[in-house]
Every structure is written in C-alpha cells, then in structure tokens.
Amino acid sequence: MRPAERRYWLDRKRNVDKVYWGVWGLCALLFLVEPLVHKHGEFAFEDWFGFHGLYGFVACVGLVLAAKGLRRLLKRPKDFYERH
C-alpha cells in the first residue's frame, strides 16, 4: 500500500451513485424536452414519443444478453490456438 495516496472523487461509492442516478435524470430530462421539439423523421414511427430512447435501451440490453449467450458457444481457453 502506498501511504496517503490521494483520494479521488470517484473513489467514494456515494459519488458513483450520484453518476448512476445522474444518467437516470438525464434520460428523464430528454423525455421532458421532447414535446418542445418538432420531430421530423423519415419514417412515421420515428415521431412516436420516446422512440429513439426506448429503441436504444432495448437494443443494448438485447445486445448484451445475446453476447452473453454467444459466449457459451464461442468461448475457448486463452491458449486455444497454441495447443496442438
């Protein structure tokens, strides 16, 4: 252990929580300002309320869960290609 290493802002769990809830707050804000912006997408469904936000969220959760599943199929030991 190094003696008296500087403590950073992110070292406190409380501050990490602040960042986490900050992301939630930002999402809420983006929904709140949506009625103020005139949306003009190429497809009609782009004008549905919150379409891009929900699409992004669902896409990313789906991506991670699918990749997690794929790992079962694709994962090999680190020296897989060195073995003969």
């Binding site: 999402c27 969220f57 896409a59 990313c60 991506l63 090999r76």
Partner: protein
C-alpha cells in the same frame, strides 16, 4: 512539370527509404516533414490526369486527381502525420519507415487511374504494413502477420485476375465504375471485399491489428480498409448487395466486441462495424449516401486512430491491454483518458463530435430511400457502437474497479498526437463546413436540427442507461481471459485439422495395407517353401520306382487320350 511529380505518394515512399539512415532529431524532423510536404504537394495538385504511360502496350494512368481521390489523400496524409508524431519515441527505424511507405502506397493506390497501377500499390500496402505487425517481435505477432500477409496477397491475386479478365473483354485497364456483371467484376469485388473485411472475410483484421506494435496498430487502422472503401465506392457504387453486406457488417462484430477482453481487439471489431456504415452507404449509392460514406471515412480515420493511440499508450505504459487487468488508470493517465473519451464520443456520434456530422448522412440516406430494415439495423448498430466503443473502452481501461496499477502518463509525443486528433474530432463536429466542401458531391445537408440532436441524444443516453443498469445489477458479462471463436477458426483450426486428419488417414491406410501386403508375401513365401523348398514335395529326390510308376501312368494316360 507534368503534374505527376505532385503526387504525395512518391514523397512518402522515397522519403521512407531514407529513414533508416537517420538518427535522433534528424529522423524525428524528417518523419514529420514528409507528410507535411505531401500536404503541400496535394495543395498544389490541380484536378486532372497526369502520368499516362505505356506499359506492354497498355495505357496506364498513375495520377488521377478528382474529388474522391483528393479527399482520401488528404485524410491519409493527416493520418500519416498523426502516426509519425505518435511514433516519435520509437527507437527502431523499421516502424516509421514501414509506416510512411505504407501511407505512401495507400495514397498511390487512391490516385491510381487504372487497375494495374492499383494492383501494384495494393500489394505494396500489404508488404509494407505486415512489417508493422512483425515489428512487435513476438511469436504471436509473427503468426498473425503471416496469416495477414497471405490474406492480403490473396486479395491482390483476385484483383489481378479480375483486371486481366476485364482487359481481355474490353481492351482497357481503366479503373471506372465496374459493377458485378462486368467481366472480372465478381473477382474484383471479392478482392475489395477481403480488404474491406466483409463478413466471413473479415477476421484477418481482428487477428493481426491487435498483435502489431503500439504505433503499428495506429498506422494499420488508417489505411488498408479505407483504401478498400474508396475502391468500392469507385467501382461498385449503387450495387444493391452492398446494402446487406454493410448492414451485416455493422451488426455482427458488436456482439464480439461486448465479450472480447483485449481492448485493442474490441477496437478492431468496432472498426469493422464502422466500415459497415460506409459499405451500406456505397450500396445505397445516392449522392447523399456517397457523401456520407466519404465524410464518414474521413472522420472515422481520425477518431479511430485516436482510440487506438489511447489504447496503445496504455499498452506502452502498463504492458497489457486486457480488460481483466486494467481499471482505475484515470488516476495515472488523466490526459490519455480524456483524449480517449473524445475519441469515444466521436465514434458514438455524439452531437458536436465528428461521427455525428458524417454517420447521420448515411442513416438519412437509408431513410430517404425507404430502406426500413437497413435503417433499423444501422440504428441498432449505432446504439451498439456507443455501448462497446463509447463506454466499454474508456470504462474498462480507465475506470471500473481500480486495478491498483500506477504508471506514468503517456510520453509527450503520444499526448501531442492524441491532442491534435482530439482537436480535429471536435473541430469537424462543431464546424463541418470545410469537410462538407471537400466531399465528392454538392452538400445540401444540415446535421444540427433540434429533432436530430434530440433523437440522437435519446438513443445514446438510454444506451448508457442500459449499460449502467446491467453493470449495477451484475448482469453485464465480466471480462474473461479467453479466446472467442471467429471465422479465423476455419483456417487456424478446421483446415489444419482437416489436413492432419487426411494425413492420419493416409498413414493408417498405409500401415494397414502394408501389413496386409507383408502378410500376403509371407504366406506366398511359405507356400513356395512348402512345394519347392529343400523338403518340398516338388523338390525332393524321388525313388526310381516312383519315377517309373509316374512314367507308366503318364504313358497310359497318353494312350487313352490318343484313342479317344
């Protein structure tokens, strides 16, 4: 003055040959001066065709300067300058020499007006770039470099065959729009497709790039694949198949990127994903889509170089780039972390960063053409790229759990290169007009509308929310020290196994047949021995009585036959 001397390709290739003879400050000045001199040449190079020459009765065109080639030459020179600065701390001469020759070859290929000249520079990019992989001087780098070289040379062979078919059918080697139906078109398409890392032809990229040196990977990320994008845009714009190929390219690498541990390999997968957007734009083929492809290639080269530079700096200082071993490095490398975040914001297409003003053109073009499914896939990939490149790269390297590793900040030359690249990323994002003015077609596109900014921010911030929730709930898959199977399994495991299997089968057949033959030989020998051996029936000395009896019997038999 014929104009041909103004091609920056010569400056870089011939100048690179001098690098091994220079040391210290002289070499540093020289390697930075070469791309800058190239930029001056390009500035003076007028539009037009220069350097027509006859070769074996064919007309070659060494320099064709038009809006497409000049745009790519500019960004290649910017990349070469950034790479030169980034590589200043390197002591061996091989990397800057090979890197600058590689950049020069790529510029030569971009200016090539005929398929033979293109082929020569195409192969030169392969030969010079593999040295950047081998410069790492590890057994893994040697193997990966060998595989890389074989794939690149195969691409060159296909290009040559296609060009010869075209020559035989049309009598011309000129490199204009080709199309799949043209003679040799399919072969040339495949040649471009290999270098562009089409799905299933892609794995040389993720195999070799992460094995190169810190600076080598930055060089590699800029030229080869974007040269292929340029060639595809020239030869196959509007080819419908490219829309699907491009869409598949944007989507499938991101699944690998999520579970990959080597962070430079994660970037290689996301490089593949970004190429997909450009390829889809070429397939759509409208002016807006092609402008999107050209501008995205331009901004992509810079932010991708920036991301590879930041990860190279981590590798240089910490000695590893595996997500499992990193974390908390923002305390040691705050500047590198900040530059990395700028690159991450740019690749994720955050408003005010370069990816936003270029990628959106391709999505808008897909929407304008009513390509619903393509548009949905591209939007999915846009969210996904933020997830794995925008968040995962900076998060696992610089934040996450503190690995306890403490190191020095990156060397000053690396920081300078990253600072310039980050400045360009923000500059293009905030003020895209100069980039738009360079594009192949007139631009009538406004990236900053309220609707566009809001929808993009929603997409990205909700993707960040998904990441945060999955991390906090522990659902996010942890980084693991492992290999993930990809299409390189076919030539690294399946094909060798097939050969070994065939060899084993052959050996078994030989052993079995050999055994059987030896047994048959032994049996034949025994039979002969029994009948003709010293004690054999036919070889022993007969008694006189026995002989007389056999002679009488034979005579009697003869008599009977005679009277019959």
């Amino acid at each position: 003055m014929s104009g041909i001397e103004l091609s920056p390709a010569w400056t870089l290739i011939l100048g690179a040959a001098l690098v091994p003879w220079l040391r210290g400050a002289a070499r540093a000045v020289w390697t930075i001066a070469l791309p800058l001199a190239g930029m001056l040449q390009l500035w003076w190079l007028p539009a037009g065709e220069f350097g027509q020459l006859g070769f074996l009765g064919e007309e070659l065109l060494l320099v064709r300067a038009d809006r497409w080639s000049v745009l790519f030459a500019w960004v290649f020179l910017i990349a070469a300058a950034l790479c030169s600065i980034y590589a200043l701390h390197v002591r061996d001469w091989l990397q800057p020499a090979a890197g600058l020759a590689y950049a020069g070859a790529a510029i030569g290929a971009v200016f090539a007006g005929d398929l033979l000249t293109l082929f020569v520079f195409w192969e030169l990019t392969a030969l010079t770039s593999v040295l950047l992989v081998w410069a790492r001087a590890t057994p893994a780098a040697f193997g990966a470099g060998m595989r890389y070289l074989l794939v690149q040379l195969a691409s060159g062979m296909l290009l040559m065959l296609g060009a010869l078919q075209q020559l035989a059918a049309t009598g011309s080697l000129r490199f204009e729009h080709i199309g799949l139906e043209a003679p040799g078109g399919l072969l040339i398409f495949l040649a471009f497709g290999i270098k562009c890392a089409f799905p299933l032809l892609h794995n040389w990229l993720q195999d070799a790039y992460p094995e190169a040196t810190e600076a080598g990977t930055v060089f590699l990320s800029a030229f080869t694949t974007k040269l292929a994008v340029y060639a595809l845009a020239r030869g196959f714009a509007g080819t419908g198949e490219l829309i699907w190929i491009g869409a598949a390219m944007t989507a499938f690498p991101i699944f690998y990127a999520v579970i990959e541990n080597d962070l430079r390999r994660v970037l290689a997968y996301s490089l593949n994903n970004q190429l997909g957007f450009m390829v889809a734009g070429i397939g759509i083929g409208t002016e807006l889509a092609l402008n999107g492809t050209a501008s995205h290639a331009f901004s992509h080269i810079i932010y991708k170089a920036l991301l590879f530079m930041s990860m190279g700096a981590v590798l240089y200082r910490v000695g590893t780039i595996n997500g499992t071993d990193l974390g908390g490095l923002y305390k040691s490398m705050p500047w590198t972390a900040s530059f990395c975040i700028v690159g991450a914001a740019s690749i994720s297409a955050f408003p005010l960063f370069s990816g936003f003003v270029s990628k959106s053109m391709i999505l808008s073009a897909a929407g304008e053409e009513g390509l619903l499914l393509t548009w949905l896939v591209l939007l999915f990939a846009s969210a996904g790229v933020f997830h794995h490149s925008g968040i995962k790269i900076p998060y696992f390297a610089f934040f996450a759990h503190d690995s306890g590793k403490r190191c020095a900040e990156a060397p000053a030359n690396m920081l300078a290169a990253m600072a310039i690249a980050a400045g360009l990323c923000i500059g293009i994002g905030v003020y895209p007009a100069p980039l738009y003015a360079l594009l192949p077609y007139p631009v009538d596109y406004q990236p900053y509308s309220g609707s566009h900014v809001l929808t993009q921010l929603q997409l990205l911030v909700f993707s960040a929310l998904a990441f945060s929730v999955l991390m906090r709930t522990g659902i996010y898959p942890p980084e693991m020290r492992a290999v993930n199977l990809d299409s390189d399994w076919i030539y690294r495991r399946f094909a060798p196994a097939l050969v070994h299997g065939a060899e084993a089968l052959l050996a078994m057949a030989r052993a079995t047949l050999g055994g059987a033959a030896r047994a048959a030989g032994r049996r034949l020998g025994a039979l002969l021995e029994r009948h003709h051996g010293a004690e054999g029936v036919l070889a022993r000395t007969w008694t006189t009585g026995g002989m007389a009896l056999w002679a009488a019997l034979l005579l009697a038999a003869y008599l009977v036959v005679y009277y019959l």
